[in-house]
């Protein structure tokens, strides 16, 4: 009896023979591709990331034997090709159609959700995240030095801690906005 593996399983196996490690590599590549597309001004980053995954999966039977090197490079190459295609499409579209300006959601929605999400944090974390973003320029540098000293950690550790908190807060706010939009629909 012959068993044909699912294309996605083949892809994971190509990334790493260990299934767990392969899953982690897949997620890392996916996360990196999304950031890459967003930074290059591609709005539907998740869609194009799926497109990369899809193209690589389809081509895998042809390339798997002959390809030498880190599979991530191959994903990256495909993503660069897609970027060029998107760039070309954008040029054609903007020549013909005026740009569509989508209405921005009201600012108060973000504000309301931020209030809710801040309340979910402990008092210490609330203090830290708001305190961290108090100042800018030279005052910010001095302030961060003072904060790090008070917490007995390095400025780098403070930066990482503040980033984690901010990232979680941002996720919470985005979930809250999505929830409100769904409720309103």
């Amino acid at each position: 009896m012959t068993t044909s593996k699912e294309p996605f399983d083949e892809l994971l196996e190509w990334l790493d023979p260990d299934r767990d490690k392969a899953g982690q590599r897949y997620e890392a590549i996916r996360a990196g591709l999304i950031r890459m597309f967003v930074s290059r001004g591609v709005s539907d980053a998740e869609h194009y990331t799926d497109e990369v995954m899809d193209r690589v999966t389809k081509r895998l039977p042809e390339i798997r034997v002959s390809y030498v090197g880190d599979p991530a490079r191959y994903f990256h190459g495909v993503a660069r090709n897609i970027l060029m295609e998107v760039g070309r499409r954008k040029e054609v579209v903007t020549d013909v159609l005026p740009q569509v300006i989508r209405p921005e959601p009201p600012q108060s929605e973000t504000s309301e959700c931020l209030s809710k999400c801040l309340k979910l944090l402990s008092r210490d974390k609330q203090e830290l995240i708001l305190d961290y973003h108090l100042y800018h320029g030279h005052e910010k540098i001095i302030h961060h030095q003072q904060m790090a000293s008070e917490l007995s950690i390095t400025e780098g550790a403070l930066r990482t801690r503040a980033h984690h908190l901010r990232a979680n807060l941002e996720k919470c706010v985005n979930r809250c906005i999505d929830h409100q939009n769904k409720s309103a629909a």
Partner: protein, 261 residues
């Protein structure tokens, strides 16, 4: 170690501003796909650059690159809204001063030094002796009708809003502390309205409309100074007009909203 981290941050910044050479760009992108620790650093730098964008701390070329790349996306705009709200919220913690004003906290003036000065006994004695001279000088100055006017203008950065207060837009809140002569407002010009020959700034409040001269013209913004005497407590909207080379004037859609508390 510190330098390496700084170099890395600078490289990520250049990538976000679209200033990296193609080969460096590819190398950075590959790291994004393979190194989770690098992704974390990347995200941190994105947050920092977004904050700097809001606070108008980026050079014109950096701002331009960030606007043409990251900020054209829905994800970028969402992040910008979140960051803007977070910075506002943080700024509210400094009593009575909004984030844009925090940056421009008034430098200690003469009167701020008096309590510090008075704590020293020797200084008190010296001060008593000097008081006679000061009083004499004071009388002279009064006789000359001399008046000390505050000269510090608190900087505020505002972006245009297409929506109105009725649509739920939260205006920037500004409290004028004593000793502040007024506010120096940096008005970000919408991308599509840049490059006009000139701009006219009109302040609209409860007491009507009034023009204020443009103090400084930058590529992406204009700066206007409004004295505290023209800003009684209340809500304000600034309207910006573009004046083209043929002399025609057109109001730029939207308003820069702020409240004086």
């Amino acid at each position: 170690m510190f330098t390496i981290a700084k170099d890395l941050q600078n490289e990520i910044r250049q990538y976000l501003f679209r200033q990296l050479a193609e080969a460096d760009e590819e190398r950075l992108e590959l790291r994004l796909l393979t190194e989770p620790a690098f992704v974390q650093e990347f995200d941190t730098v994105v947050d920092e650059v977004t904050d700097q964008y809001i606070r108008d701390e980026l050079a014109d070329s950096e701002r331009d690159g960030f606007e043409k790349g990251f900020l054209t996306t829905a994800d970028g705009k969402k992040k910008l809204r979140f960051a803007s709200e977070l910075l506002d919220r943080a700024g509210e913690r400094v009593a009575g001063i909004t984030p844009s004003v925090v940056a421009a906290e008034r430098r200690p003036g003469f009167f701020d030094w008096i309590p510090v000065f008075w704590q020293s006994q020797s200084m008190r004695l010296a001060a008593t002796a000097a008081a006679v001279v000061i009083i004499a000088g004071g009388i002279f100055l009064i006789s000359k009708s001399f008046r000390v006017r505050p000269t510090t203008y608190a900087p505020v950065s505002l972006s245009i809003s297409a929506s109105s207060r009725a649509d739920g837009v939260t205006p920037a809140r500004v409290r004028l502390e004593s000793g502040i002569a007024g506010i120096e407002i940096n008005l970000a010009i919408p991308e599509e309205e840049r490059g006009a020959k000139n701009y006219r700034v009109e302040l609209s409040g409860d007491s009507g409309e009034r023009d204020f001269p443009v103090e400084e013209r930058k590529e992406q913004s204009v700066v206007v100074k409004i004295p505290a005497s023209s800003l009684p407590r209340g809500g304000y909207a600034i309207h910006l007009f573009r004046i083209d080379s043929d002399g025609t004037e057109q109001r730029i859609r939207g308003s820069y909203l702020f409240d004086i508390e």
